[in-house]
Symmetry: C2
Subunit: 404 residues, 2 copies
């Protein structure tokens, strides 16, 4: 008789955002006609930029003509997109990343879940706490996290780096030595960024202890402060210890379009084995490229018109971020983030738990946020709101919260 | 120091089609101006059907307007597509598969590589030999295949089911009991189909020995004979033992569009654990949905216009298949397949190995095919040609081969 992967049975509950979707759906079914405002999952609301729409129409037309039709894409992505990424996201910032170190994918969620596959099962991971759930869950599924302790909400073999008010939400080097360090900066869910100097400290630390950093830069476009690095490869020595994941979801509104990329530098080696070669092999065997139309849409994000339009979109969301921050502060909340990231991280009022505050906000204000505890035990007592709503809805949500 | 997944190091050489691409690229660089005809990788050449193009333009326009913009898709696929699949691919054939048993993905390659993840590492897989390389390679990467023996080209823990001229390319029940059985029917690479009665035999066998069947139906649209099943769920008892993978690549020309789906029936359980729930969890954690535009394109494949147009495309390719078959037979080759599948499987002439014939055909006729040995040891001495070229190129390739 065949057997299942028992690691799946260890996962407590369902994926965070699936749970939230079910709760919201149950509430709206029981209370039809309530105007729910969703500031929970980090989903964008602005339509795709005109330059991107034009590129997609053009690509669709190419697919309608045998002379310009495109079948299977090159395994690792089209040259036109890898070139644009390498030159505009890296070379323009002095990071010597070449196009063939860019691996185009269907999004950073897939990449951040899949990247653990190329590492040994007995590697020890370190994550910020709170953290994007995919890092830990994907390691649970592959049997790398040990036993779950329901009381503390932690895994025996995971090294947690608490990020709380006490340390300004900045992770500290862990006491135990990790093999794989996940860093998401600017951070989801806390909205925190660290300085380039602090990031250099992490690169030096990884090189010293022989760890690899999985650097999730999904929110890079939201950086507003000068001393924050846009890529980990701005740091000396990062190419020897870091893989960088990037998304088009938050800078170009591609949550429903699906595009991302991973950078694996050729000099990143483990005992002489090239991680670049391993990731290429995984792509070649388990993935068949992002759609041509979507890769053309991605390319348009780098055109002069595209860049100008996307800059406006980011500014639109950041206006929301700053409105939420000041609005909630006026209402007496303690609020973090929202400066270099589209996320606001607030302390729940009184002694409310994160899920209590979720229910309270859903039922009393019809506003959906994300309970901080869903991101890890140190998220308990916090709550995430996103700046990705429309300006009007964001204002309306604030009015409702202020009126509680 | 972190460590890598050592299983990757066991993989001999690169992914088959990457190797071919490199060989062809080297040849064309050394011999510019040669008109290479590609009948190797199973990539389509006809442009997307008008009904699909229209659906994509419409969906792109929806993404340009905040009122109709779509962000994150539902984890498992949009209802409009799951409904169309369930009703037209299953319920219309008397298979009681419901929409929520359909998991929409970015293609059958990803699904066929990822599906092994939900099973225990010590399960034993059985594959046809020759076989689509992804089944074995994805199991190598997860450490399920034992040691590689370079001399025989086999893995110690894989059960091979030879499919050769001697058994009409129809796999026989293996002597050792497998846990997971991969079946691709109609078959890639041999082009063979089996009768519904024979398939029922496999379902009965799996239920008897407690195995699960991964049924790859990527070439279902090419079935021309009456007594061949279009889905494994046409067989009694299949919902208790089979997962079915389907692709839009070969019936709708989506190789560069990327769409597929997996059926995991709710009654498929292992010791009380629902595989449906496990696959849902994998999708929720490691995937973020196929693009909205692509799912609308998929829906259009089920419209009356779409279906009529795709039927013509399949007929076009099958005209190629039949021309290749008769042309090669005239030239003295022994040829199989091409009746229920877009693949022709021929014996290499004389004592040529598959790779020798590959080089011979590339250099002498400038035609690219796929060496049978690339699909497994029993593929040695065979060669695959595909019917996916244009009619003109297919004719030209035949002329060249006949002229050798």
């Amino acid at each position: 008789m065949y057997k299942i992967n028992e690691n799946y049975q260890k996962l407590p509950g369902s994926y965070l955002f699936s749970t939230i979707a079910k709760k919201v759906s149950a509430y709206t079914q029981a209370n039809p006609g309530k105007g729910i405002i969703r500031l929970g999952i980090g989903d964008v609301t602005l339509p795709l930029a005109p330059a991107i729409i034009a590129a997609m129409h053009k690509a669709v037309d190419e697919m309608a003509d045998a002379a310009t039709f495109r079948g299977y894409a090159p395994d690792l992505g089209y040259g036109f997109l890898r070139d644009a990424v390498a030159s505009q996201d890296y070379q323009s910032r002095g990071c010597g990343i070449s196009p063939d170190e860019i691996f185009v994918s269907d999004g950073a969620k897939s990449d951040s879940a899949n990247i653990q596959e190329i590492f040994s099962q007995d590697n020890r991971i370190a994550v910020c706490d709170p953290v994007y759930p995919v890092y830990v869950d994907s390691n649970v599924m592959s049997g790398r996290t040990g036993a779950y302790d329901a009381a503390s909400g932690t895994w025996s073999d995971v090294i947690y780096m608490p990020c709380t008010m006490e340390n300004g939400f900045v992770p500290e080097f862990p006491k135990e030595t990790p093999d794989i360090i996940y860093l998401c900066l600017p951070n989801n869910p806390t909205g925190t960024a660290i300085t380039k100097g602090q990031l250099q400290g992490w690169v030096d630390y990884a090189n010293k202890v022989g760890a690899v950093i999985i650097y999730d830069g999904a929110y890079e476009a939201y950086i507003s402060e000068e001393n924050v690095a846009h890529s980990i490869y701005e740091c000396e020595g990062a190419k020897a210890c870091a893989i960088e994941l990037k998304s088009f979801s938050k800078n170009a509104g591609f949550t429903g379009v699906r595009l991302g990329y991973t950078v694996v530098p050729k000099e990143l080696k483990c005992g002489g084995v090239s991680l670049h070669g391993m990731w290429a092999r995984r792509h070649g065997t388990k993935f068949n490229g992002a759609p041509y139309i979507v890769q053309r849409a991605g390319e348009a994000a780098y055109s002069p018109e595209g860049k100008a339009q996307l800059k406006e979109q980011v500014a639109y969301y950041m206006r929301n971020a700053s409105a939420i921050k000041s609005g909630l502060q006026e209402a007496g909340y303690t609020v973090f983030g929202g400066v270099n990231a589209p996320y606001l991280w607030l302390k729940t009022p009184g002694k409310m738990t994160s899920w209590e505050f979720f229910d309270y906000l859903l039922e009393q204000a019809n506003v959906v946020g994300t309970p901080g505890s869903g991101f890890g035990p140190s998220g308990e007592g916090y709550f995430r709101l996103t700046a990705f709503g429309s300006y009007e809805n964001t204002q309306k949500a604030l009015e409702r919260i202020k009126g509680l």
